[in-house]
């Protein structure tokens, strides 16, 4: 049996079920127990588990990240939540210098079962300090696992797996995905933290997406299907470790590859994927790999410029047409995602 639930509910269920199952699990961070409850993803937790296991914290991201390390070493399973990944930058010293290295530095005698949930954003004037992604930063550092699920099913299964994992896991959630709904099995179990998911099978071009860009890639695939163009959309899902095998198998089939990363292009995850594909199947490729990502600027506030800054399904469609030597598809009648349809006002 399965149910249709939102991404937000999937996160909430994963935390609540794990907190019920294991008294070592606790969740903390700015706003976690406030009335807004991290966009309602931590709804009901303080009521059920009490203020000792679900608490809002002082504005001290650096110390509270180190707090998680100490708690994890002493046998707890912390979930530290950041309303914006931009705030996690204040904890980077703890994350990179301490958390990522401590198992290695302890000669393997200590483990750090810690989840750091960070929300990435976009839209409605978030501008440049409420909108970054930064998964390539985290994935660059040995000792950290990095995942960014894009469906409710993956959000639930991967968050449960992250909580049970004995390593630090950076768990990145796109704010727009919170309202995404999808089927989640009643007995969801865990979903491995090291695998990509083929969201849509196809034969002409492989599109590797991260986070929200998978929504854009699926939309592009639906439109292009009308023209008889078949995209294979792969949600990278796990950034570190990256499941290169699934991508390489796909590219060997389609012999073309577009990477649509929810991040800047320069030195980003898209470069890592491109290099991996080139190393494995350079001679099989029929066209150079195309990378799509944010414009190389800070994120602007105003909507017209924001639209220029963020990549979308149209960029993917144009890249596909270029690779296949097709004329431009008429998109005038298409209905693309617009956050104005979901809500107005601040996130």
């Amino acid at each position: 049996m399965s149910r249709t639930i939102s991404y937000r509910e999937a996160l909430n269920e994963a935390m609540a079920e794990e907190m019920r199952r294991d008294p070592s699990v606790f969740v903390y961070g700015i706003d976690v127990a406030d009335h807004k409850r991290i966009f309602n993803s931590s709804k009901g937790l303080v009521e059920e588990f009490g203020a000792e296991r679900c608490f809002s914290t002082p504005l001290a991201e650096d110390a509270m990240t180190g707090f998680g390390l100490g708690a994890a070493i002493n046998g707890m399973r912390p979930i530290h939540v950041h309303m914006r990944v931009d705030f996690l930058l204040l904890g980077m010293n703890q994350l990179v210098n301490m958390i990522a290295t401590h198992r290695y530095g302890s000669g393997g005698t200590m483990k750090i079962p810690m989840v750091i949930r960070a929300i990435i954003g976009r839209g409605w004037g978030q501008s440049y300090q409420h909108s970054k992604a930064l998964h390539s930063w985290f994935a660059h550092v040995p000792g950290l696992k990095v995942v960014m699920p894009s469906t409710p099913r993956d959000a639930k299964g991967m968050l449960v797996a992250a909580i049970r994992d004995d390593n630090p896991v950076v768990f990145i959630e796109h704010r727009w995905l919170y309202d995404a709904v999808g089927e989640v099995p009643d007995d969801a179990g865990t979903i491995a933290l090291d695998g990509a998911r083929v969201l849509r099978s196809g034969s002409d071009i492989t599109v590797v997406g991260t986070s929200w860009m998978n929504v854009e890639a699926v939309k592009a695939a639906q439109i292009l299907e009308q023209r008889g163009v078949s995209l294979e959309v792969i949600d990278a899902r796990s950034i570190a470790p990256f499941d290169s095998g699934t991508v390489i198998r796909s590219v060997r089939k389609t012999r073309r590859c577009i990477i649509a990363d929810n991040d800047w292009v320069n030195c980003g995850f898209s470069a890592e994927v491109a290099a991996t594909v080139y190393e494995a199947c350079l001679r099989e490729l029929r066209a150079p790999i195309k990378r799509i990502g944010y414009s190389p600027t800070p994120c602007p506030c105003t909507r017209p410029l924001e639209n220029e800054f963020y990549p979308n399904a149209v960029n993917i469609i144009r890249a596909v047409e270029e690779q296949l030597g097709l004329s431009e598809t008429d998109l005038s009648g298409e209905d693309f995602y617009s956050y104005e349809n979901k809500f107005k006002g601040p996130f």
């Binding site: 002493n74 707890m76 750090i112």
Partner: protein
């Protein structure tokens, strides 16, 4: 009294002796790890650690030879790590600045000033949740007070009523910069005393005094449920990093060293022992420690290095 002082002497002597041996051997370049020496600060390491029980936990800095030796009493894994050998606590992958001993309660030490302070908060929180009766003491220098994370941590510990034992070891310098150039206030102890915590201060080099003060601080912590803050002054005898003196560098004066040297923690403790023990008895106790250190060094020198596959071990669990 007699036993207490004997035990304290064993600890200060072990630290002094182990570091003396490091100094003797360091020039050969077999110990390729940056040494930040505890010499001069032995009373704090010994006094605080002796007031802790076996199950209690400590967290330190890159200058943590002293607390490692005082808390664990062991020298085999310690020297093996200094020599970068497979028998070291981290199989040679951590070195002098990153000491751990989970079975003896040493959680971590760090090369980044201040970073380990909040780790103590989480450790105390976990002990409370798991109903573990364990004190957690976190050592840091006066330089750490310049870091924002110290203030964040102090505030959180006091606000969340996390009884952390803060141990500030003030040697007057952050690397080479004196407090007068770094601090926009007169007294750290005065400022910390405005927080919801218990503050204790001393500039004693007598391990017994530090032991007593630490016991009081732990008692106050238990009685109040609030953190305790130990503010302890000492003098770093050697250079910031390395095994040599640095009085010719001009940032501090030898006369200051001479003043502290006159109340050297090891000699002071030895002098006190003479009330109860003969010179021969003390000499025999020292010889036991000398032999322990010497044998550990020998074992370390003969131990193998980790094989190349070890590079990839323990990145993830």
């Amino acid at each position: 009294m007699k036993e207490l002082n004997y035990s304290l002497y064993q600890k200060v002597y072990l630290i002094r002796r182990a570091e003396a041996v490091i100094r003797e051997h360091y020039a050969s370049d077999a110990m390729k790890t940056p040494m930040h020496m505890s010499t001069g600060g032995e009373a704090i390491a010994a006094g605080v650690c002796h007031a802790l029980r076996a199950q209690d936990q400590i967290i330190g800095t890159y200058r943590s030879h002293g607390i490692y030796l005082a808390k664990t009493g062991e020298t085999d894994r310690f020297f093996a790590e200094m020599y970068g050998r497979a028998t070291g606590m981290a199989k040679g992958k951590a070195g002098s600045m990153h000491l751990t001993a989970p079975e003896a309660g040493l959680i971590c030490t760090s090369a980044i000033v201040g970073t380990t302070i909040p780790v103590a908060l989480g450790a105390v929180y976990a002990n409370r949740q798991k109903k573990q009766d364990r004190v957690v003491a976190v050592f840091f220098g006066d330089g750490a007070i310049d870091e924002g994370v110290f203030w964040e941590s102090l505030n959180i510990a006091c606000g969340m009523r996390l009884p952390v034992l803060f141990v500030c070891e003030d040697n007057g310098f952050a690397v080479h910069v004196p407090k007068s150039q770094r601090h926009g206030y007169r007294s750290i102890a005065d400022i910390v005393s405005r927080f919801e915590c218990n503050v204790f201060s001393s500039d004693s080099t007598d391990a017994e005094v530090i032991y007593g003060l630490t016991s009081d601080a732990i008692g106050a912590m238990r009685a109040s449920g609030k953190p305790s803050f130990l503010y302890l002054k000492y003098y770093r005898y050697l250079e910031h990093v390395g095994v040599n003196e640095d009085f010719n560098q001009g940032y501090r004066d030898r006369s200051e060293y001479e003043r502290w040297r006159a109340k050297d923690p090891v000699e002071l403790q030895r002098k006190k022992l003479r009330r109860w023990y003969s010179e021969d008895e003390i000499g025999r106790a020292e010889a036991v420690i000398d032999r322990q250190v010497e044998e550990s060094v020998k074992r370390a020198e003969l131990a193998p290095f980790s094989g190349p596959a070890e590079l990839y071990e323990d990145v993830l669990a």
